[in-house]
């Protein structure tokens, strides 16, 4: 695959505050790449750097092999779909879409045919003479996309384009954007804070936090193999536990030793253990690897979301079986449901569901090294027993 855009060690500060911290990112031809992260993570700034609306303090932005740090936006073969669309209120639908062509002095007949073609692509045929202010949010969105695509850019930048739409419309537009991207073969760089949107649309997801890239990968990789506690928590729901690797494919957490599928860690290395709520099976208490008490049950339609207290740590479990509050249940976890991550700056910040309980305070005060040592001792004892 051909690289279209490369960001090399890009840094950017606003008012002395570092917004982008040494960003390195390759964007390939024809891919749908999503910059995902909470607000303030630097995703929009990254997009604006590619669009030419901001200049990097450090590092290079390379477009098809050429450094374009100081090339102004109108000379970049990149177009943007702005948040809230930024349609020209003094022009009708036709003239909004024709805007870039008029600047290029394209012959009139060609303008008409190309605008028609674009309006057909975004399903707005017949809207030519309408005022853009009379359109619904979804229709304005389509005009913005048509306008950005009409001069056939190499890359289309989309800055949270669906954020202002209601849920149903957003789902439809997600599918449509994906279809348009496939049909035109243009590279899409999409910014969103909605992880579901990112997973369902993208070829590549770039998870960002605090101005740094946390992980780059396919949606499946990002979900199944999160690199750290931030990614695990931001993408979907996760129970993140302190654990320690005893050996390859052997991890101890919550007072129990589990078989897992991860290897390559040092012996006794403290790790973060991720278990997705849908990967936990509920079994009768006596058959559980772990035992706990149900503290809350929420019905969400497709499944129940239950919170289980296991030795003070609150797990979230998604299940289709009904259990009642205060019921004692057992948990069964398959080896491939356990994902091991290296410790990071985000360790201990995410992944427990006890925010409405103060029981965690006591446990939090215990030094993590003490826990590891206590668990290792327990492990040694259980092995000497056998």
């Amino acid at each position: 695959m051909k690289k279209i855009i490369e960001l090399k060690n890009v840094c950017k500060s606003f008012d002395g505050e570092l917004v982008l911290d040494h960003i390195n990112l390759d964007i390939y031809d024809n891919e749908f790449l999503t910059l995902l992260g909470p607000s303030g993570c630097g995703k929009t700034t990254t997009l604006r750097l590619i669009g030419g609306f901001e200049t990097a303090d450090e590092g290079d932005i390379v477009f098809m092999g050429e450094t374009i740090n100081h090339v102004p936006p109108h000379k970049r073969n990149v177009n943007t779909v702005f948040q809230r669309y930024a349609l020209f209120p003094h022009l009708n639908v036709f003239e909004n879409v024709a805007f870039p062509l008029r600047e290029q002095h394209v012959p009139k007949a060609e303008i008409v045919s190309r605008v028609e073609e674009m309006l057909k692509l975004v399903a707005l045929t017949g809207f030519e003479k309408r005022s853009v202010t009379s359109l619904s949010g979804g229709q304005q969105q389509r005009v913005a996309i048509a306008r950005a695509l009409i001069s056939h850019p190499k890359v289309l930048l989309l800055d949270e384009p669906l954020a202002a739409l209601d849920l149903k419309l957003r789902k439809d537009m997600q599918k449509e954007l994906k279809t348009i991207q496939k049909a035109t073969g243009i590279t899409f760089v999409f910014v969103t804070h909605d992880q579901e949107e990112a997973l369902s649309m993208s070829d590549t997801v770039v998870v960002m936090s605090n101005g740094r890239i946390q992980q780059i990968g396919t949606p499946i990789d990002i979900y199944n193999e999160p690199k750290n506690a931030f990614v695990a928590d931001f993408i979907g729901e996760s129970n993140i536990l302190d654990g320690v690797m005893l050996a390859d494919r052997k991890v101890r957490f919550s007072g129990h030793t589990f078989t897992c599928v991860d290897s390559g860690f040092e012996v006794k290395e403290p790790v973060d253990v991720v278990i997705r709520p849908e990967d936990v099976d509920i079994v009768p208490e006596e058959r559980g690897m772990l035992r706990g008490t149900v503290t809350s049950v929420t019905f969400l339609g497709v499944h129940y979301e239950i919170i289980v207290d296991i030795g003070g740590f609150k797990w979230m479990i998604q299940t289709t079986d009904f259990v009642d509050v205060d019921e004692h249940i057992g948990l069964y976890i398959e080896p491939d449901a356990i994902h091991i991550m290296k410790k990071s700056e985000y360790s201990g910040m995410f992944g427990d569901y006890s925010s409405y309980s103060d029981e965690m305070d006591e446990i939090g005060e215990i030094d993590s090294e003490e826990i590891v040592e206590a668990e290792l001792r327990a492990e040694a004892e259980s092995e000497s027993d056998t």
């Binding site: 936006p73 990149v78 209120p89 600047e103």
Partner: protein, 293 residues
């Protein structure tokens, strides 16, 4: 249903009461004076209906010396034409100076913006007469400007008593009325529209021509209205800075009024008002059509 109706009725009563002072004010100080102007314009000394005053505006003639010959001219049409010419020139100069200035203010930081707006407003706090006298002092043949030029060995300029002096006075007095409405439109302009225009291939000039200018038209129109109308009917500036050589329509109204010829003064004012109303309607229409295109 009944209760909601009664609530609605009450609310509209409250609204009407709240609006009452404004309605009274509008009737007393806008409508009544206009009716009086029209009434006086169409009546004679004995308050009998007549169109003579209006006819006189269009037909009255007088002789002016044109070199060696004497020419007969339509007095008030000539004066009106001259007023219109000076007012249009002043308005255009105000637009050319005010537009970029309004743009620069709108682009400045909020602090600088309020500072610059204050700077523009300061001359407006001074009395209009004093401002005009100040310009007399500056522009006189032996005034500040010429002393300055003489000091640097430059040939002094004869400005006072020329149309140029009148235009300078008008521009100085009315420039803030051009800047403020344009500024208020530009300050509200969505920055992303400008970014979008750059993104879609416009250079700076293209952004100005295709986005900023059309979007600022409402401000430009009200700026033109606010400068053109007072400058077309001004009389004091022309008397003081034009040395009374450029008799304008405002001067005509004033002298008819002071000569106690109220009916003809009202007729001139009435014609002026109608012409301005038509002119503004055309301007607005043009702007609306552009906006709709």
């Amino acid at each position: 249903m009944k209760t909601s109706l009664s609530v609605k009725g009450q609310r509209s009563l409250i609204q009407r009461i709240a609006l009452a002072p404004y309605s009274v004010w509008a009737v007393l100080f806008i409508l009544v004076p206009l009716v009086f102007v029209a009434y006086y314009a169409f009546t004679d000394q004995n308050y009998a209906f007549t169109t003579d005053n209006i006819t006189r505006f269009f037909t009255a003639t007088s002789q002016v010396a044109d070199g060696d010959t004497v020419r007969e001219v339509h007095t008030y049409l000539l004066i009106f034409g001259r007023s219109l010419k000076l007012a249009v020139i002043s308005t255009l100069i105000c637009l050319l100076l005010g537009y970029p200035f309004a743009y620069l203010i709108a682009k400045a930081s909020p602090r600088t913006q309020s500072l610059l707006i204050t700077v523009i407003m300061i001359p407006m706090w001074m009395n209009f007469l004093i401002r005009t006298y100040a310009w007399m002092t500056i522009l006189q043949d032996t005034g500040i400007l010429n002393s300055f030029l003489r000091f640097f060995g430059i040939k002094p300029l004869h400005i006072i008593g020329t149309e140029g002096a009148v235009v300078i006075g008008m521009v100085y007095d009315y420039l803030p009325y051009m800047i403020l409405p344009i500024y208020s439109v530009m300050a509200k302009m969505d920055e992303r529209l400008i970014e979008a225009a750059y993104d879609l291939g416009c250079d700076g000039a293209g952004v100005l021509r295709r986005v900023i200018w059309p979007l600022s038209l409402p401000g430009v129109i009200s700026g033109i209205e606010m400068v053109l109308i007072p400058s077309i009917s001004t009389f004091y500036i022309s008397q003081k800075l034009g040395n009374g050589k450029f008799y304008l329509i405002g001067d005509a109204i004033e002298s008819q009024y002071t000569a106690n010829n109220l009916h003809f003064a009202a007729a001139i004012a009435f014609v002026l008002m109608i012409v301005l109303l038509i002119g503004m309607a055309i301007l607005q229409r043009g702007a609306n059509r552009r906006a709709a295109a």
